[in-house]
Every structure is written in structure tokens, then in C-alpha cells.
Symmetry: C2
Subunit: 400 residues, 2 copies
């Protein structure tokens, strides 16, 4: 008689570094302290009202299964959207609706790997890639980007040296979460060449596509040579401030990829219905929704950047996109500092919550001085949060 | 320069056997033929209006992320529901809301296995278990149940003989999809003993809990000895005719299991919001919703059963639950027969669609004379469908 044990897969899956300090934040709130949440990418921008109107217009009697690749209205909406993005060669058959970007990444990883295979990823990266890789039994091979030059990609040789017979894909994210860095055409060119020469897939997380403050982001699908290699993992969460809808997509011109992710999609039957109906309607907002949003985020970025520069010892480069900055702090153990801000510090009954850096790395020991800051608060609150952070840092330094 | 290839995981994942004849059905429809869908478990029963009212009552401006384990209202709703089911020891911390039963099964499998591990399952079984197992890199070890005795479990020794050092769990489903069989207390007792003696988890798919026509189903969580072993995979899809909502749950008293599935849950952030708000409201319908539904399904079952008995050569046992029957036909290749019904047959511009048996087996060559019939049509349509099927079978037999 014995007790069943959790699998090593389960044990090795990391808890979310973005959410793991939540109990400390809750405790602070219960003491009456206001917590500025700079830790999570939850925008305060309103979801387009077209979304809610469409949901409320649903007049069926039965909420029934729908197609595994998405409801026709949603596929049509996405097709129009990608055409507006300049990807005019994308047709409906190249698109599958997923239950958010999360499922898009998981299914893409699973389609191109078997357990034990490797995927190259650039550190720091979106921490949930770790979770998906563990779930899929895949090894992420991390290659560091450099904080000192704004987290640019390393050179071609450095990347190529990490390709092994087990490498199946390179996973990129531009504009980047957590660094905000937007890959240049030259960097995308390196990825393209390596994918072609080594027969690798490129999984391209493009959920922040619209969040570029100067110029624009290059989509992996804009390279015709990569039609068999490129897989876009996408999401409406940030683009339409609809994180709770859980609607995303996989886009690829590789028919075998689409056939494979559809098989995974059939196993889970279909994405949520009402949220698809809402999401399909936001295509009608065209591009006008983004303009105001982008102006707002640019303001926030600039306020955050200027504010951080004024804090002694803090190092940061101005990022070109998304709504995150990866910031270096003059502390030895960022986890301790972030926890301390919540449990031991307050400035006039206020404090702030950051996402500690180590969760954004796969390499042990890295990121111990960094934290990700999401600039998802309005300018007034952002200024207050920076002030709190600045006072917190000097108080922390004087205690240790 | 080489072309990237789909992984063996991707290639080995089966397409849905329930949906794969859909192109033939679509073709039949385009010829003006009405197709009675007996292939898919999509009930025609109305979703409780409380669901839609709650969704329409949402008055937020931002559809934001919500907790990875589910919104508080949904957890509370489920807690009350499980108490009404007689599982009074289930508290909120034992429950995680999932994106449908599909995710509940995938996450449970992943929590208890690493790639290469084995899970015992009884044939025939819900085909998507195959898909989830492939996604997780897990081997399903199938043990046949016997059509001739109504798909009862084999004896204890037969099951025990298939337990190996790699076995991590036994996966059961009662009331069963596709057979409709409800496990007896004695059968549950065998599963319990084996789990205790061999230190195995029991993953218990209980999504058809209410669909029992005589007596009631035994929940795996009703055995106090199994508190460390038992994991319920659950779904609101069938219970409230809300298949398109994609809301389900994992329930376990094993804290390590709940902690592990929560980590997977954090990776995918959260289940869909509006569908949770709707689902949370249906708890207010109490048990009254089920009573009428169950009477309706009992009628349908009896009509289908009597109808099938009248077709020469067809073999079927009257099942005690769910809304499926696994039926044996006097044909050599059920796939061919099912396809033929759609592509080559019609009776006064009508035909019918069944789910071929082989997809419900992991053992190659099995199920070639069986098909699953879902009695999800009203009695009138069911009678017509059976008549069409009866004529179709004799026409098919005379052509071959």
C-alpha cells in the first residue's frame, strides 16, 4: 500500500513568478495598504464596447459546440485583421482560433516537438513558456540577450552554437515581453537564415504587434521564404484589452502544422463560444482603437522611463514596444526586495508590486537584480508608484 | 537547407473519429439531404436561461484576467453543487475551474505522469483521451470491456496484470461515454483496492454524473480511503447543455495534485470570464433542471433501444446512463458503412451519421463492427433516424 506521487513533470513546472507574490500583496491590502500593480500585464484600457454588444446580442437557446478551428465569424474577422496587418496572403485555412495565446503557444510547441526535443529561446522571456515546455516535455535552450544594450539578440554564431540535432524550433517574441524590445529587420534576418539552413520552425509570439512606439514590428509571416517554417502565436488579449476573453490564434502557411494543431484542437473540442462572438465583432473597430491606446502607452512609457532614470543605481534602456520594461536594481536579491516592498514597507499607506527577474530566465542564478515593470497604470498612478518605488528602494538599502 | 517536419507526437495524434466524417455529411447536406446527427454528444436541450441572463448582466468596462483557479462566484457555485451531490467534504480549495472537461483531463494526466508513463483505461473509451495522452507523451494501456455483457469491467486479475512500474493512474468514466455503462459499487471497489495497493491515482471522468436512469452513479470522491488518490475531471457541458461554454473543473482532496494543476493553470492564466459568470449562475437552478432533462433522455433511450432491437443483426444492451449506446452492427467495416450512409444512401432525402467504433479503441483492429449512437435528438427525430438507419443497413448489405 503506497501513496501516489506527483510526476516529475508536475514538480518541475514552475509557479507563475508574476503571481507568486500575490499572497503578500493580499496581506498588504488587508492592512489597508494600497498596492500599485506593476507586476502584471493587465491593461486598464476599456475593452471595445462592440465586444460586449455582440455578446449581449446572442439569442440562441443552446450554447452548443462549435467548430474546433473557430466559429466562421471569428475566422473571417481574423482574416480581415491579418490583411490589414499587411499579411494579405493569409487566408482562412491558415488560421485556427485558440483558447488565448496560451493555447496557441502550447499547441505550436507540441506540433513541432516530441518529448525530449529542444526549442531555442532568448532570455529573459515570458515565464509561461517554461510552464508550457514542462507540460510538453520539451527542453528550452536559453540564450541570453544583454541588458546593457537593451536586450538585443546575440550574434548569429552565438545562436547557431546552441543548435543541436534535437533543436526543432526557435521561439521569438517581438515586441518582447518582458523587455519591450522590438526585433530589427537585421535580427529577424538572422533568425530567418538559421531557420532555413537548419530546417527549424520559428514560433513567433506576436501578441504585442500593435504596441510599437517608433516604426513597426516585422511579422515572421512577412518572409515568403519561411512559409513552411513560420508559425504565429497570437492573442486578442492585449490588442483589445480583452485578457479575460481567452481568444487567440495560430497562423501558418504550413498545411501540416495547421492539420496537426487542428487535431489537438479537436481533442479539446472548441474555444469558448460567447467570447468568440464578442471577439469577432471587434474587427469592426478597425485600427482606430489602437491609435488612442498607443498614444496613451507612449505617455506612460516616457513617464516610467524618466522616473526610473531619476532613481540612483537603477539601470534601464528605453524599449521600443509592448508595455513592459526590464529594469536592473542595485540590490543583491530582487525576490527579497519585491517581497519586502509588500510586507515591510509603505509610504503613506501605499506600496508597489513588481515581477521579480529570475522567473523570466531558465538559467539558474540569472535575473537576480532585475524586475519586470508593466506600465499598465494611468500616468497619475504611475507617477505615484514610481515615487513609492524610489522611497522603497532607499529604505531597503538602508536596512540591509 | 531543409524543411522542418511535424513531430512524431503531432503525427501520432489522431483526428477526432467523431468529427472526421463531417466532410461527407457536409457534402450530403449540399445535395439537399437531411442528416440526423447521432454521431456527436451535442444535446438539443436548452441551456438554463439563468446562464444567459448572468452573462448579459456583466457591466464591467474591461474584460480582465481573473484568478487561475476560477472566479470566486464559480468556485462557490461548484462547492454548493458538490455538496448537493453528497460530497460534503469538498471545499473550495479542493476545486479548480478549468477550460472545460477537456482541460481537466489534460491537466490531471499531466500532473500524475511524466512523458513515457502509463495510464490504464478501459476500451472502448472517449476518443479524446487518445489525443490528450499523445499531447502529454503518455501511453494509454487499454483493457477491453465486453460488449456481450454490456461493457462491464473485466475482473480484478485481468486489470492487475496490466499494471507495470510505469503505471501512474487508472482512468475511469462512469456513466460512460461511449457505452452508457454505469459502474457498480463492486466495480468501483475493485478500482479502489487496486489504487490503494499499487499506489495509483484514479482519474475519474464524471461529466455524466446526473445522467443515470436507475439508481445513481458512485463518485470516486465518496471513498474516504482514496482521498490522496482520487481526482475528479468534471464539466458543465452536458449537465447544463452548455457545451460551448467550455467550463469544467478538477476536484481532489490531494493538496499536491491541486497545487500542481494550479501551476498548469497559471501557465494558461485563467478560464474564460463571461462563460464563468454564466456558469456560476446556473447553480441557482438547483436540481430542478435535471429532472425534466433526465425524463426526456430516458424516453429517448427507450425509443432508441427498442428501435435498434428491431433491426436484424444489430446487437445492443440497454445502458444505464449517459446518452450514448455502443452498438454492434452486422458489417465487416463500420467506417465504410458510416461513410456509405452519408455518401451513397438516402431515404426520402434523409440519412444519418454515426461515430465509427475504431476511434473509441486504442487497440488496432478493434471496434470494426461497432458504432456509438448519441441519443441527443427528440423522440420524433430519433424514430425517423432509426428508420433511416434500418433501411440503410439492409440496402448496404444488399450492395456488398
Amino acid at each position: 500500500m503506497s501513496r501516489p506521487e506527483i510526476s516529475s513533470r508536475g514538480l518541475e513546472t514552475p509557479a507563475s513568478p508574476i503571481r507568486k507574490l500575490t499572497p503578500y500583496a493580499d496581506e498588504a491590502k488587508s492592512r489597508g495598504v494600497r498596492v500599485y500593480h506593476l507586476n502584471i500585464g493587465q491593461p486598464d484600457i476599456h475593452t471595445p464596447r462592440e465586444f460586449f454588444e455582440a455578446v449581449k446580442g446572442f439569442d440562441g437557446n443552446v450554447l452548443s459546440y462549435n467548430p474546433s478551428n473557430g466559429i466562421p465569424a471569428m475566422l473571417e474577422s481574423l482574416e480581415q485583421y491579418y490583411h490589414r496587418c499587411g499579411l494579405s496572403h493569409v487566408t482562412r485555412k491558415d488560421i485556427m482560433v485558440t483558447t488565448a495565446g496560451s493555447e496557441a503557444i502550447l499547441f505550436s510547441m507540441m506540433a513541432v516537438t516530441s518529448p525530449g526535443d529542444e526549442i531555442i529561446v532568448f532570455e529573459p522571456f515570458y515565464p509561461n513558456y517554461n510552464g508550457f515546455a514542462k507540460m510538453a516535455g520539451v527542453t528550452l535552450v536559453p540564450i541570453a540577450s544583454d541588458p546593457r544594450n537593451g536586450y538585443r539578440l546575440p550574434d548569429r554564431e552565438t545562436i547557431e552554437s546552441r543548435i543541436t540535432p534535437k533543436t526543432r524550433a526557435i521561439l521569438i517574441c517581438s515586441p518582447n515581453n518582458p523587455t519591450g524590445t522590438v526585433l530589427t529587420a537585421a535580427e529577424m534576418g538572422i533568425i530567418k537564415d538559421l531557420a532555413l539552413e537548419h530546417g527549424l520552425f520559428v514560433l513567433s509570439d506576436e501578441v504585442y504587434r500593435e504596441f510599437v512606439f517608433e516604426g513597426s514590428a516585422v511579422s515572421i509571416l512577412s518572409f515568403p521564404e519561411l512559409s513552411e517554417h513560420a508559425v504565429i502565436c497570437d492573442s486578442l488579449s492585449k490588442r483589445y484589452s480583452a485578457c479575460g476573453a481567452r481568444i487567440g490564434s495560430i497562423v501558418s502557411k504550413n498545411a501540416a502544422v495547421m492539420e496537426t494543431v487542428l487535431k489537438f484542437g479537436q481533442a479539446r473540442l472548441c474555444p469558448p463560444t460567447l467570447e468568440q462572438i464578442g471577439s469577432a465583432a471587434v474587427v469592426n473597430t478597425g485600427s482606430k482603437y489602437f491609435k488612442g491606446m498607443l498614444d496613451e502607452y507612449r505617455k506612460r512609457r516616457d513617464v516610467l522611463y524618466e522616473g526610473l532614470l531619476s532613481i540612483p543605481g537603477v539601470m534601464v534602456k528605453k524599449p521600443g514596444g509592448a508595455f513592459y520594461m526590464m529594469v536592473s536594481f542595485p540590490v543583491d536579491d530582487i525576490e527579497d526586495f519585491c517581497r519586502w516592498l509588500l510586507s515591510d514597507f509603505e509610504l503613506e499607506h501605499e506600496t508597489t508590486m513588481l515581477a521579480p527577474g529570475p522567473g523570466f530566465y531558465a538559467t539558474k542564478g540569472k535575473g537576480k537584480q532585475e524586475a519586470r515593470i508593466a506600465y499598465v497604470l494611468n500616468v497619475e498612478d504611475m507617477k505615484k508608484a514610481i515615487n513609492v518605488l524610489s522611497h522603497g528602494l532607499s529604505a531597503y538599502q538602508s536596512t540591509s
